[in-house]
Amino acid sequence: MAQARENNIEIRPYLLSTPAMALYVGMFLIPLIMTLMLSFYSYDMTKGGIIEEFTLANYTEVVTDSYFHGIFLRTLSMSVLVTVFCVLLGTPEAYILHRMSSPWKSICMLAILGPLLVSVVVRTLGWAILIGSKGVINQSLMAIGLIDQPIKLMFTTTGVVIALVHVLIPFMVLSVWASLQKLDPQVESAGQSLGASPFTVLRRIVIPEIMPGILSGSVIVFALTASAFATPSILGGRRLKVVATTAYDEYLGSLNWPLGAAIAVLLLIANIIIIMSYNKFIERKYAQAFK
């Protein structure tokens, strides 16, 4: 009897987590392993497509070809830029929001989170309408005579970065917001009573204390930018390729699935390495704040 009960207790957690495990294995792990396997196959149109033989050719191609270097570098610099802008805009935004009084707090929170309810594709198309050479922004600037020529934003890195910052900033705000909620409201008063100006209080006390939120927010934004597909593909077009759109093109354009898989796997590995070393670095630097 006692034994049976013991067994029950041991089995129950596994039983309860089975549905989630099944979903995770079926929808994530198996496709991931299949993609990994696919990336080691080769492709030959003349021999009927994918040849199931082990080869490193796809990886060698990506690693040695300067065409792919350019794409990876562009993705990296875009991710860094978007992350930096999200930190610079999102942190003050969260702080101001935190200091607001109701009902404005809830209204502004809704305004910031609202875009998350709209599909990324729809939001990106909205940006296309705004920034196109015949778009709202250029038309208005030309109408009031500030510019003669339309500013080129469509199909440029600038345009993609602007739209991605808009798409991803809610994650940054939410992350910093969560840290601010944990901050003791009297800490700022304490700093002032010790003789620090409001600016010094921000620089020396508030920002270090919410650093964990800023850092985890930037990890989320970085990872999402590096793997972003919809925004770069709509606003960047065919010429301004990033890793995600390149993998897509290999799959559906050139039908070279193994090469597409290799690109996807390399993106995943690069993402993991960057995020993990970043985490290591910040954990060391802000060891106390993380405890």
Partner: protein, 353 residues
Amino acid sequence: MSFLHLDGLVKKFGDFVAVERMDLEVEKGEFVSLLGPSGCGKTTTLQMIAGFVTPTQGSIHINGQDITDIKPSKRNLGIVFQSYALFQHMSVFDNVAFGLEMRNIDKAEREERVRETLSLVHLGDFAHRFPRELSGGQQQRVALARALVIQPEVLLLDEPLSALDAKIREDMQIELRAIQRTLGTTTILVTHDQSEAMAMSDRIAVMNKGKLAQVDRPYIAYEHPGDSFVTEFLGKSNVFHGGLKDISDGTSMVDVNGVEFLAHTTKFPLDTNVDVSIRPEKVRLVETGKGRLEGTIKARIFLGTHWVFQIDTRIGEMVVVSQNTGQQDVEEGNNTGLDWSPEEVRMLLRETG
């Protein structure tokens, strides 16, 4: 002129008057408690002294200087917050050094003063720990050290002990008082705990509904409360409503439902509605028929050093506290006589409404 002077201080939040015409003078080196229930305006008063809340009217002077419009960062006050408000990302040393750094004090002196203050609060060995690694009592000491190291003109304590366990709280009360005496720092303590206020302060300022009800030395405030609010807030008391019947020879006779209370005062005219009050420890249990009032013991609670009796009488319930003398001669359900001396009866104007 006194060292800290609150002159006609008023704070309104919209229509709500948080503090109503507050006048208080505190001498240099004095320890004064602002005592009152929550919402009485004590914290708002402290916030006005600290500079985090701007008074609607009135002024605050420290050492003859008007600081009403001076920024909190320029007031040179040490504040210990209820939540301690330590800087979690800084070590104990850096927390304490922060105020000195803001004052541009050079590194060698800074180090020396931080060490001195930390050893004053018995945290000399904890300089390199972080706040999270300390117990509540130790965090409290860091907060105190951080406030004291800048040698503030006035030390403000905002319910600093309320988060501590009863035992540590008592120890900290004694220690805090000792440190304050040593340094001679003028101190204002905000608390809702009357025993804490009485244990630590030179004077208690009892506040009620935004107003000062009484400012006195703890013993005086306890023995001679100015009104029924102070009577009931400072310690326990038996309060009965009565009518003033007779005045003669410096004594007043108050009738409470047929029971006569003699009080040694003549401060009110005849037929005034008054309250009479008598402290539980001033009432004696005597043999039936030998006291001024008869009653039945409803409940008896043993608290180690003393007994608390709840006694039903014809004028209502009376609480009596008697010292534990090692004898147990009264049981629940017994009838008993109650006696007291007229000197212990306090007569207060009945609050209307």
